[in-house]
């Protein structure tokens, strides 16, 4: 059997087409994702918002100036002072500032566009306007000026929050895209599974007839092919993961050994999916390959490859679908390894994946057991 494994390894390595989809394509795609999504989450990261402030000469508002200075010092805003509106408009049009502000009877802000940064800016200055309104309304109701204590209390910035310390990793949404690529790569082992069955099942190729007529028991032929295909695919996925980790700086968490275990289970699941499709379908080889690719890509879409929120939506609204989608099981395993400190969720995913692998393999092997056919 060692010789069969040796030759099957050669066969797999020399199948350029499958090597391309499982090896080169996944690396290329992950590189593209890294280039494209590099700054995807920058929109939410807090940075000083650049704004222009129109300060007219006779304008006097000490409190407002203090507020501006305080905000600048805290790093919420970056102010460019201008003396007239035309200048401010020019800065805005050239995108040198995100907004400009004029302070007259009321605070007026003009922005480039709606967005997180400008919403944040509005929030900062709403605070100021609301405190002023409270000051005025309180005076009106009390029918007297506010005491020093009341003013201090009013201006005090109180924080009622305490962040719940969690031992979860940083919620980096972009990582899910990379996890779906690895899932895709693992399940593309199904292409190998289809090819493997073609070389063994007598009614699928002449080479398979020759194999069937040999004294080597079928299970040995099958096993040697599975071992060789698994070894190569596992190696390719390992290279992909290492490439992502060290070249693209994708985070996998602290349990790298578990990541490689998930790789192994994933590759085996993909391979057994291919065996299942190859054994029970009567179509041509390329149609079976399209079936495997179709199942993989649809699964990856539902696991969030094109739209990361899709994974969550499926999980919340159709959890059954999440549990039966091989791509999602894999993606979720990598995600939970990265994000969660404990192994519970990962183990659940692994258990289901093992179950699917056994099921696919079992049905496939049962279909492959037949050694006589109606026609060849």
């Amino acid at each position: 059997m060692v010789k069969q494994i040796y030759y099957n390894l050669k066969l797999v390595i020399r199948e350029k087409e499958i090597l391309f989809w499982n090896g080169i394509f996944t690396i290329l795609l992950s590189t593209m994702f890294a280039l494209a999504f590099g700054n995807m989450l920058d929109y939410e990261k807090m940075e000083p918002v650049s704004m222009a402030l129109i300060e007219e000469e006779n304008q006097e508002n000490e409190i407002f100036r203090e507020v501006i200075n305080a905000l600048e010092q805290e790093g919420y805003i970056k102010v460019t002072k201008v003396t007239e509106e035309g200048e401010a408009k020019k800065l805005l049009a050239e995108k040198n500032v995100a907004a400009y502000m004029e302070y007259g009877e009321e605070l007026k802000i003009t922005v480039q566009e709606s967005g997180y940064a400008t919403t944040f800016l509005k929030s900062v200055f709403d605070n100021y306007a609301q405190k002023q309104a409270t000051y005025e309304h309180m005076m009106e109701q009390l029918q007297r000026p506010l005491t020093q204590e009341e003013v201090v209390r009013l201006m005090e910035e109180e924080n009622y929050f305490t962040k719940v310390e969690s031992n979860h990793a940083e919620p980096d949404l972009v990582l899910n895209y990379f996890f779906t690529i690895i899932a895709m790569g693992c399940l593309y082992s199904g292409l190998n599974g289809v090819r493997l069955v073609k070389n063994i099942q007598g009614n699928q190729s002449d080479v398979a007839v020759r194999n069937s007529l040999s004294p080597m028991p079928r299970y040995k032929l099958f096993l040697s092919s599975v071992v060789a295909n698994f070894a190569v695919q596992y190696g390719l996925i390992g290279i992909l993961v290492l490439y992502m980790k060290y070249m693209l700086k994708v985070e996998f968490g602290t349990h790298m050994a578990m990541v490689f275990l998930v790789n192994g289970v994933g590759v085996f699941m993909g391979l057994s999916l291919g065996v299942l499709v190859g054994a029970i379908s009567h179509s041509k080889e390329n149609v079976k390959q399209w079936i495997v690719m179709g199942i993989t890509m649809l699964g990856c879409y539902l696991a969030g490859m094109m739209d990361s929120s899709m994974k969550y939506k499926v999980q919340e609204n159709a959890p059954f679908l999440a549990y039966i989608n091989p791509s999602n099981l894999l993606t979720d395993a990598y995600y939970s390894l990265y994000y969660y400190p404990d192994m519970e969720r990962t183990m659940t995913n692994l258990a289901i994946m093992c179950g699917f692998s056994l099921l696919f393999c079992g049905i496939g092997i049962f279909a492959l057991r037949r050694q006589q056919y109606e026609s060849i």
């Binding site: 995807m40 009321e106 605070l107 007026k108 802000i109 509005k122 929030s123 306007a129 929050f161 719940v164």
Partner: protein, 391 residues
């Protein structure tokens, strides 16, 4: 016309694999173009941050008032909509989770400074905005409570609510108004680049592969019809194929976007798409000089369309890409296609003086197309003269 009809027959035989990219594009475009009301957005709209408030205390005037206020200024999710806080945060289905602990209201009124528990993404605008909103609300409530100790809680809530309704006047600068339909047009035309690349490269390369099979080519060269004449017919076929693909995209655009496809902005977008299609045809003819195996054609076509579209900012807006990515992308025609789309998006007037950026991008795209065609023709000539090994 036999060559031309053969061209069409070959396309027809491979219509399944050729139209795969178009099918994927249709799916993407349909999902992306939303069915909400299309309205002219000239006013500033604050981002509705997704927040969930989980109340572990009793339902009090304060908690109800706070929730009502949050509902107006954020996208307030119900407690049962967030079953797993950690997952919801990771996938940005919720950006901030507030937990009102048991006994909060009582301690708050007693001045014990109780704390709300929170889950959020570190160092984000959304976290600041939500905390600012809630801190301000609670501070205002506290100020009224302390200054008017005999007032009923409902009155304090009323006062708080009234003050919190004060907002600064924020507007969008003239000329920066966005049209939601505008946004969908950008999405559609960005995705269309993928369809164009995928379909054109697959189609043209597949046909040329058939015509260039070594024995077929030799048989053709032995015939009394000149190879040049046959080549011309093949090019005619490329042209017709390109026009058909373009027509399908226009039709699709009309179905999804309505008459806006034929607005001034829409027509300029179509011109941009046409220029990009010329590039795609150039890429395909160049590709066919080096790739002749069917499975290799599928692999290379897919790789080129996905890589160029990612690098060119078709799937992800250019503003999200790193500067390195943009530098690399600028060497691809897809980048200039996206830039032209972006330029058009920002324009509200179409005076030629304002459209310099757009025409520059268009010129670069056409330049790429000419370059690809020229290199392809050169390689073809070298091969025919026997200097290059046949693919």
């Amino acid at each position: 016309m036999k060559v031309f009809s053969t061209y069409l027959r070959i396309l027809n035989k491979h219509k399944g694999s050729i139209s795969l990219a178009m099918i994927i594009f249709v799916a993407m475009a349909v999902i992306s173009v939303k069915s909400s009301d299309i309205s002219q957005i000239t006013e500033f709209q604050e981002e509705k941050i997704a927040v969930c408030v989980i109340n572990q205390d009793e339902d009090t005037v304060l908690s109800d008032g706070l929730k009502a206020y949050m509902n107006e200024h954020t996208e307030l999710l119900r407690e049962n909509e967030v079953t797993n806080i950690e997952d919801a945060l990771f996938f940005r289905q919720v950006e901030y989770v507030v937990i009102i602990p048991k006994g909060f209201y009582k301690d708050f009124l007693l001045g014990k400074k109780p704390k709300l528990e929170s889950y959020y993404v570190e160092n984000s605008y959304s976290a600041y905005c939500v905390e600012n909103l809630i801190n301000n609300y609670l501070s205002t409530f506290k100020n009224y409570a302390l200054s008017f100790p005999d007032a009923a809680p409902e009155t304090i809530i009323e006062n708080t609510k009234r003050d919190m309704e004060t907002e600064c006047n924020v507007s969008i600068g003239k000329g920066n108004e966005t049209n939601e339909m505008n946004g969908w047009m950008v999405t559609f035309f960005s995705c269309a680049a993928y369809a164009v690349l995928g379909v054109i490269t697959m189609g043209i390369t597949t046909v040329i592969k058939s015509f260039k099979q070594i024995d077929v080519k030799r048989r053709t060269l032995c015939s009394p019809v000149s190879y040049m004449k046959i080549n011309k017919k093949v090019w005619m076929g490329h042209g017709v194929f390109g026009l058909v693909v373009f027509g399908i995209l226009v039709l699709l655009g009309t179905v999804l976007l309505g008459k806006t496809v034929f607005s001034v902005k829409g027509l300029y977008q179509l011109l941009n798409l046409f220029a990009f299609e010329l590039c795609a045809m150039g890429i395909a003819t160049l590709m066919s000089q080096f790739v002749s195996n069917s499975s290799a054609i599928a692999a290379v076509s897919n790789t080129i369309s996905i890589c160029l579209c990612f690098l060119g900012g078709c799937f992800v807006p250019l503003e999200y890409m790193s500067s390195t990515a943009k530098t690399v992308g600028s060497f691809t025609p897809a980048y200039w296609y996206s830039k032209a789309t972006e330029n058009l998006y920002e324009l509200s007037e179409f005076r030629l003086t304002l459209m310099g950026g757009y025409f520059k991008c268009l010129a670069i795209e056409v330049g790429f197309a000419i370059a690809f065609f020229s290199i392809a023709l050169l390689v073809e000539k070298q091969k025919t003269m026997g200097k290059w090994k046949e693919a």
